[in-house]
Symmetry: C3
C-alpha cells in the first residue's frame, strides 16, 4: 500500500495493535483460570464476565475510534483510544479483585466513547458544511474541533 494512505492511519493502527495485545492479555487470564486444576468457580466467573464485558464493547470502541480518526483527525482519536485502553485495564483488574457482591457495573469508559462519538459528529458536520457552503466555514469548524478536543483534558 502506498505511503500516503498509511500516513493518515498509522496512529490508529498502533492503538489497534495495543488493544489487540490487551485482548490477548485478557484471553490468557481466562485461559489460565480455565485450565487450573481445582477450579475456583467464583474467580473463573469473575474473570470470564470481565472479559465478556470488555469484548462486548470492543467492536463499538474500534468503530468509533476509526470513524473519528478518519473523519476528523487521527492524533486526538488515537490519544482518546489510549486513554480508553487504560480505563479498560483498570476496569478488568478491578473486576477480578472484587468480591462477587460488589462488582463494578456493566459499562466503563463512557466519557471517552462519548468524546470519540462527538468527534465523529463534528467531523461529519464539518464535511457537510464544507461541501454545501464552501471553505469559508473551515476556520470556524476548526475552532469548534479544537474546543472539543480540550474536553479530554478535564479530569
Amino acid at each position: 500500500m502506498d505511503v500516503i494512505v498509511v500516513e493518515s492511519i498509522y496512529l490508529l493502527v498502533i492503538v489497534t495493535l495495543i488493544s489487540v495485545l490487551q485482548n490477548a492479555f485478557f484471553a490468557l487470564k481466562v485461559e489460565k483460570e480455565c485450565n487450573r486444576q481445582n477450579v475456583n468457580t467464583s474467580a473463573f466467573e469473575r474473570v470470564s464476565c470481565a472479559n465478556r464485558n470488555c469484548m462486548d464493547a470492543y467492536p463499538t470502541f474500534l468503530a468509533v475510534m476509526w470513524c473519528a480518526g478518519l473523519c476528523l483527525s487521527q492524533a486526538p482519536a488515537a490519544f482518546a483510544g489510549i486513554i480508553y485502553l487504560v480505563v479498560r485495564q483498570k476496569y478488568f483488574v478491578g473486576y477480578m479483585g472484587q468480591t462477587s457482591q460488589s462488582t463494578p457495573g456493566y459499562l466503563f469508559g463512557k466519557r471517552i466513547l462519548g468524546f470519540l462519538f462527538l468527534m465523529c459528529v463534528v467531523g461529519i458536520f464539518s464535511y457537510l458544511l464544507i461541501r454545501h457552503y464552501g471553505n469559508d466555514h473551515k476556520e470556524y469548524v476548526e475552532i469548534i474541533t479544537k474546543a472539543a478536543s480540550t474536553l479530554l483534558l478535564i479530569p
Copy 2:
C-alpha cells in the same frame, strides 16, 4: 483527512454512529437491570441475552456493511444498514417483552445481511470483470447492481 475520502464513506459513518447510539441504549438497559435493588432474575437474563445476541452479530454486520459500501456503492449499503438497525431494535424490544417460554430465535435480520453480502459479491465480481475484460462490461454490471438493490423493496 482530505475531503475526497470522507465523501465516499460519510453515509456509512453516519449509520455506524446510529448503531453505536443503539448499542449504548442496549447497554444502558442491561446496566439498569443490573443495578436494580431486588433483582428480577428472569428479566435480567432476558435483557442480557438479547443484548448478547445483538452484540454477537454486530461485528459481522459492520464488516459486511462497510465492505458493501466500499466495493459497490455507499447509498444502498447505508440504507440497508438503517433497515437492519430498525429490525434489531424490534428484536431487542420483542425479546425483552417476551415470557421466557417463547423467546425469539438467535438470529435476526438474515435477509438484510444476505442483501449486503450479495452487494459485496457483486462489487468484487464487477471489479474482477472490469480488471480482466476492461470497461465494456461496466454497464452490464451496473444493471445487475440496480436489479439487486431493488430486492430490498420486497416486503
Copy 3:
C-alpha cells in the same frame, strides 16, 4: 468507489466474506440446537460456548487482518486469514464433538494472529523508517518482510 481503492483491498474483502459465511454457519448451528424439541442441554451449551469463543475473537481477528493488509501487503494477510478460518472451523467442529470433560481451551489460532500482528508491526516500522530516513532503507525492510512471511510455512 473507484477501482484503485478496491484493488488494494479486494483480497481482504473476499476473506471477510468467507468469514461472514462461516459466522452464519456457526449461528445456524446454534439456532438449530435452540429450536430442537427435547433440548439436549449439554449439546446446546457446548455449541453455544464454541460459538461465543469464536465470536469473542472475531473483532480482534478482523482488526489485525485489515491492519496487516493495509500497512504491509494484502496477499499474505489474506492468506493468513484463510488459514485462520480453517483453524477456526476445526476448533468449532472439535468443540462440538467433545464430551464436556475435555473441551479444548479458550484460545485458538494464536500463531496466525501472532503472525498478522507481526506483519502490522513490520508495516508500521517500515513506514516510520521510510518517513524518517528516506527510501534507502526500503530494500532492507522488504527483506525483513519476506523473511517474516516465510514464518507461515513452518508447520
